[in-house]
């Protein structure tokens, strides 16, 4: 865990803020990287939240003139059916955030619970769990998504479920390894010598020692989930129009990209901004969470 954290220090050149010593000496560094990431993610969040209350046009409203260029009425122009692109883009931001947050929350929770359970199980059950997780991770997530969609229909919920399961396997495997590593440390033995039960050991020792790494991993998975949902939508396995995600906007715009490039460019920019923002934010978290600042 330690080496993992130390391997990703602030990128060279990023002028990190001066290490601050807080009461008790726990070092907190909040890097520029993290700030930039927070701003990028924040921009998308603002667009997504605004889309709940205000859209220039209802996302499904036709009749703006087909494939119109940007104008005062339609700031980003319209698509092939005459729908306002800005409205669709704003709805897409909301869908992307929902997909990312939903999958990360589902995958993170499920993964941590399964991973901790595996770490504490007796050897054979643990070996079994590890094998199952390896198979799950090797299983093509697109195929998994198609199975889920086939069973539940193409909705945002299906996409979140499918992506969440794939994330859960990754998080569970990592949790299991991190927890086992902490379990092997002597302070866990020392805690057991004073009669601490397993629940107390998880709460007092395992979670505080592994959650910084887990939080960063789950944050990174958030970014991957956004991309995965866009891919599923692009393939027609995600939320259907008109409440379309950026992935289906890209799909729609594919045929008309030379006539109305904004239809493809905007969702692309949206995805890049959100995923880059999330990754930078995760980097920032990593620096800030490393509590001892290069322990030992």
């Amino acid at each position: 865990m330690t080496s993992n954290i130390e391997a990703h220090q602030v990128p060279a050149g990023a002028p990190s803020t001066e290490p601050r010593r807080q009461k008790g000496g726990r070092r907190r560094r909040w890097s520029t990287t993290g700030t930039v990431g927070a701003v990028l993610v924040g921009a998308v969040v603002v667009i997504g939240v605004v889309s709940l209350f205000y859209l220039p046009y209802p996302a499904a409203q036709l009749g703006g003139g087909r494939l119109a260029g940007p104008s005062a009425q339609h700031l980003l122009g319209t698509d092939a059916l005459g729908r306002d692109l800005l409205s669709q883009f704003m709805v897409g931001a909301r869908i992307a955030l929902l997909a990312g947050a939903g999958s990360a929350a589902l995958g993170g929770t499920l993964g941590i619970v399964v991973g901790l359970a595996a770490a504490f199980w007796k050897t054979w059950a643990d070996d079994g769990a590890a094998a199952v997780l390896d198979v799950l991770i090797a299983f093509p997530s697109l195929l998994l998504a198609m199975l889920v969609v086939a069973a539940r229909g193409a909705t945002l919920g299906s996409a979140i479920l499918a992506i969440g399961l794939a994330i859960a396997a990754i998080v569970a495997r990592l949790t299991r390894i991190l927890a086992k590593r902490v379990l092997g440390r002597q302070f866990v033995l020392a805690a057991r010598t004073s009669g601490t039960g397993w629940f107390g050991i998880i709460r007092r020792h395992i979670l505080p020692n592994i959650w910084p790494t887990l939080a960063v991993i789950v944050a990174l998975q958030f970014g991957l989930a956004v991309l995965a949902e866009a891919s599923l939508s692009y393939l027609g396995l995600g939320a259907p129009p008109p409440n379309a995600s950026w992935g289906s906007l890209l799909h729609q715009a594919q045929g008309t990209v030379y006539v109305a490039p904004l239809g493809a460019i905007m969702p692309g920019i949206g995805l890049v901004v959100l995923v880059l923002g999330v990754n930078l934010l995760a980097d920032g978290m990593q620096d800030a969470f490393d509590p001892v600042g290069g322990r030992r």
Binding site: G24, A190, T193, R204
Partner: protein
């Protein structure tokens, strides 16, 4: 209820055999007997099985080791006991101090919180709740009992911010939190430098005398054993070589191996001269 008579064995080990999954024997048919309040030592070189013995008494051997024989702590069998029973035993009857306090303390938890947790657990075993200001006071008292001066500051520190001696004092305070009948000291001063070692040994002697608990002192250092124990067992390759009064063992060893150990320690001492031994536990030579 917690002070067995001086002649009752608080720790009784019979035919203890520990084997690895590969069939390697770490401890072979070990017998030992520690009476209430007695200070007992297990002497042996690295790999002789002394630390394994200490862990076995706690019921904390790593998975994959098979244990045979019998270990009774205050009459309760440890070998084969379910985890629930062991946990109660560990929280009340036995405490252990490990060699390296830095690894025995959670790096991400403040020292006061770790000690407070141990104290609260010991209190709840007696049916008391210890939280808030009461817990903070108990932590301060426990730290002062192990001769830590700026207890309030240290309670807020993380392990890496404390010195080796302070860390080991905190670890000792944690082991003492449950007022154990038997305190296992697994080379508690080996990781400390010599002057700190002398202070910690002095502290341990005083604490053991004050609390009247029995100790199982595991060490390879004969001078330290002489200062810390009345009786000792010499362990070699998992087998008991010789058991007896420490003074007898060190001045008139009967077995060749014990003689070798004593001679080697003496030779080392002589070659180091006066500077070799720090002021501290009164030497035996």
């Amino acid at each position: 209820m917690k002070a067995p008579g001086a002649n009752d064995a608080v720790l009784e080990v019979r035919g203890l055999t520990v084997q690895t999954a590969q069939g390697l024997t770490l401890v072979d048919g070990l017998d030992l007997h520690v009476a209430g309040g007695e200070r007992f030592a297990v002497i042996g070189e690295s790999g002789s099985g002394k630390s394994v013995t200490g862990l076995a008494v706690m019921g904390l051997l790593p998975q994959g080791l098979t244990v045979r024989g019998s270990i009774r702590v205050c009459g309760e069998e440890v070998v084969g006991a379910p985890e629930r029973r062991l946990r109660r035993l560990r929280g009340s009857r036995v405490g252990i101090v490990f060699q390296e306090p830095l690894t025995a303390l959670d790096p991400l938890t403040r020292l006061g919180a770790q000690l407070g947790e141990a104290l609260a657990r010991a209190a709840s075993a007696e049916g008391r709740r210890l939280r808030g200001a009461g817990r903070r006071r108990a932590v301060r008292e426990a730290l002062e009992a192990v001769q830590i001066d700026d207890a309030d500051r240290l309670a807020r520190a993380y392990p890496h911010e404390a010195s080796g001696g302070q860390r080991q004092r905190v670890a000792i305070a944690m082991a003492l939190a449950c007022k154990p009948d038997v305190l296992i000291l697994d080379e508690p001063t080996t990781a400390l430098d010599v002057t700190v070692q002398a202070e910690v040994l002095g502290l341990l002697r005083r604490l053991v005398a004050d609390n009247g608990m029995a100790t199982l002192f595991v060490s390879h250092d004969l001078a330290v054993v002489a200062a810390m124990a009345e009786r000792a067992l010499v362990l070699r390759a998992g087998r008991a070589v010789e058991t007896g009064e420490v003074t007898t063992l060190l001045t008139a060893p009967r077995k060749a191996y014990t003689r070798e150990l004593v001679a080697a320690a003496r030779a080392l001492d002589d070659s180091l001269g006066d500077a070799g031994r720090a002021p501290g536990p009164e030497g035996w030579s």
